[in-house]
């Protein structure tokens, strides 16, 4: 049933993304080409994810970066459409068809990859092929629902309000609704640009170091680096682009006719203005949706908590100090340059590990929600698997629990640390 739900949602989103493109394609052949290309893209994505070559790629990264690039490209095209492309599109039907077909071809591969990836995981976990059948049913149900929704929309003449620029603004938000994990990536791009801009400005106006400037100045500068600022800027970028498009469209002069008197013209213009306002409605909804999605994702994500290393107590790690369930870090060894981490896991057990893995340089780990988070490569390690050896997991240490303390062999830990540090 989980597969049915996943496939149904993906199917609905695919219909929501492809449907307006079918309307925008205009002619019958164009519409058929849009559907064919979109389906071909989705199937290609699914095959790519299923193929051995595709399986070896980090699909989460492909989805994340692909989704981000697609969203960014849509916004860019929306701005270009109301400035330059729109004129060309109206003058040359081939340009319009080319844009629609290009969008159709690129719209569903990511959904194909994501659907197959999720269903394969269910097949693996349940050790049965039934999820494939459920997924097929889900897609059929989505197709039926899509047909019904499309009929309702056509009944109310919704296609009249589908424009290229509104599609380019709404489509990314529809995609983000089912793939909200892309939003932090968008936010990090916006934050990075803001951060680098502030860095350049500080440098250019020769601001001196913290010791010499007042704390108020540094607090003002620090506002740019806050995570809340990143959230607000992320929303501001989308709302800014949407507002630009809306203002451009709203300020376009309405068409004149030679054969009408002022009263007739006023009446016709009133209708046209109402229609124009209706084409703006999806954008207002998309702006609100994006703001809500960005906020909920931001609120759920939080920030990594990096533990401050303390000196390892002589008798071992006190169990009581781990009661908060947070990640704790300790320095040990003769030169106090090696670290262990300890945590009281949600299942009630304890883990003591080196603050390093077998793969990355030993930058250590931070706690990030229900995961540990490698500070070097960013790989999330579910808390349940901390204490298990291998790969990106922190190297586990054998320890004993006695007299309220966790005790491990420091000599062995030092040898393990040196081995990890030298890649052995």
């Amino acid at each position: 049933m989980e597969a049915l739900r996943i496939a149904f949602l993906h199917g609905l989103v695919a219909i929501a993304l492809v449907g307006p493109l079918v309307w925008l394609a205009g002619s019958g052949r164009g519409r058929a080409a849009v559907v064919a290309l979109a389906l071909a893209g989705g199937v290609a994505g699914a095959l790519f994810a299923y193929a051995p070559a595709g399986s070896r790629l980090p699909m989460e990264t492909v989805l994340l970066k692909g989704g981000t690039a697609w969203a960014g490209l849509c916004l860019l095209l929306a701005v270009m459409d109301v400035t330059v492309l729109g004129t060309l599109r109206r003058r040359y039907p081939a340009v319009r068809l080319g844009m629609v077909l290009a969008l159709a071809a690129t719209i569903l591969p990511l959904d194909g990859i994501d659907l197959v990836r999720q269903v394969r995981t269910l097949v693996f976990m349940k050790e049965t092929s039934a999820p494939w059948a459920w997924a097929g049913l889900g897609l059929l149900a989505a197709a039926a629902s899509g047909w019904l929704i499309s009929w309702v929309f056509r009944r109310f003449g919704a296609r009249r309000y589908a424009t290229m620029w509104s599609y380019l603004l709404v489509a990314p938000v529809v995609r983000l609704a089912i793939q909200p994990s892309v939003i932090p990536n968008l936010e990090s791009i916006v934050s990075r640009v803001a951060h680098d801009g502030m860095h350049v400005l500080v440098l250019l106006i020769q601001l001196p170091d913290h010791a010499y400037l007042s704390s108020g100045v540094w607090t003002a500068i620090g506002l740019v680096f806050m995570s809340t600022t990143g959230l607000l800027l992320n929303v501001a970028v989308y709302v800014g682009v949407a507002a630009f498009v809306l203002v451009r469209q709203a300020s376009k002069p309405l068409p004149l006719r030679e054969d009408e008197n002022p009263a007739q013209r006023r009446r016709r213009w009133t209708t046209l203005k109402t229609q124009r306002r209706l084409t703006f409605l999806p954008i207002y909804v998309a702006m609100a949706m994006f703001a809500v999605l960005a906020y909920t994702t931001w609120a759920a994500t939080g920030t990594p908590k990096t533990p401050t290393p303390a000196t390892l107590p002589a008798g071992g790690i006190e169990v009581a100090s781990l009661a908060d369930g947070e990640l704790h870090s300790y320095v040990f060894g003769r030169s106090s340059d090696k670290r262990v981490i300890a945590i009281h896991k949600p299942d009630g057990s304890y883990s003591v590990c080196l603050d390093a893995c077998l793969v990355c340089p030993p930058d250590g780990y931070a706690r990030f929600g229900t995961d540990l988070f490698c500070l070097y490569c960013g790989t999330p390690i579910p808390l349940g698997t901390v204490g298990q050896p291998g790969g990106c997991n922190p190297i586990p240490l054998t320890f004993t629990q006695s007299a309220g303390r966790l005790v491990f062999d420091q000599t062995q830990a030092e040898v393990a640390w040196q081995g990890a540090n030298s890649g052995k």
Partner: protein
Amino acid sequence: MSAGNSSIAKRTLRILGARWLTPILTALGLLWLLLSLVLQATDSTQLSAGIEIAVGGPEITRLMATNPFVALYLIVLLLHLCARWVAGIADDSQPPSLDKADVDQVLADTWRYAVVPDPGDWGDRVAEKFSGWASASTHEGRVVYRRRPSRVPLRLWQAGLLLLFAGLLLSTLTRQSGTVYLGEGQVIQRGEAVALSRYDWRFSASGSVSLPFEALRLDQGAVDNGLNSAFQPRGGAFVRWPVSATVAYLDRGAEKQFTARAFPPVVVSGRLIQVIGIGLGPRVVATHNGTTVLDSFAQPILMPGGQDEATLEMEPLPFTLRLKLLPRAGVSPVEFPYRLELVEKGRGVVASGTVGVDGGSVDYAGWSVAIPETRYWIALNVTKDPGVFLVVIGVLAVVVGLIGWLVAVLRGWESYLFVEEEGPSGRRLYVGVDASAPARGRAGRRFEELLQRLTSRRVP
């Protein structure tokens, strides 16, 4: 400039300022940047390694400072935007054009209108009223008078943005910055090497900043440490610790001086100079069995209000010196005594005592260490960066232009249309007005005055 050169310049300007270049250049740059940032943002290098090499890295500053292709792209973009700005200024100075479609549009948009008998001399009456306004007419005798928001603040704002952009570009391509450590009584000659960083501290570079003077000298007592009587930074709204130093320098044989502060930098011969560090440098004198083996000043390390403890390793001493300032009321920090500890590896503190200008030494195994003198040291940052000046002017222009533009936009615009036509009872004049929302009150009053003027009888 000859006519041929002028024609070439105009043609170049026209090509560089072509409108269609803007979306193409913008799209190219944004796609490039977006791709680079997207691939880098998750810190996973599996997919971004290739693009990182292609564009020289994801950080904008590094991109601009280190990648010649990015610099070339930005120079082309800047030239294009400057050409468009110049073309915009040229457009502003042209009288407005008017064709049938414009008239139809104004007619359609008319907010208030009236039809009055043609007084015959309506052209003169209207021209008096709209003296100084932009006007245009068609060959059918239709006339439009317009007062739109002044474009000057907008152009100033745009110029500010272009200056900011140009300054940033110039800075990334030419900036050199270095730090000079100068102790009281010390002289630094032009030839001495100054540590240099290229663009910012993360990217070191070979070479040195050439000092804009033949020699620098910091006299005794030339440093204001910025501390109050309790040895705490004096504080201010912007600068928390207002340290400053008056530095003497030789310029073509003549001795001059400047006062460098923490902020803002002082400009000397085109170089920006500011104090980025201050400290006390103790003179360490060490003897071994009566023979002086060390007599030198330590680098700036200590300052009440800042760091007042330090550990020094000085050759050829076989131990480490651990120093702690002992502030004393009523005297300058350079007269403070120190708590001095000699620390030997593996043995810990082997000797300790109080030393300072009043005398005293710490002795251990034939060694004797004293600190008979302390001097101020300052770290002077010397930056050669013509881009900074453009950035500062650009910021000012952006702020002033933006305020002016907002004021002009809030004042709104007005448009008056006059159409002469043949009516059933003789010639008549259609008068229409259109105005933006903020200007409608003013436009309404002007419209009434205009109608009065058109319908009043003129005394011969």
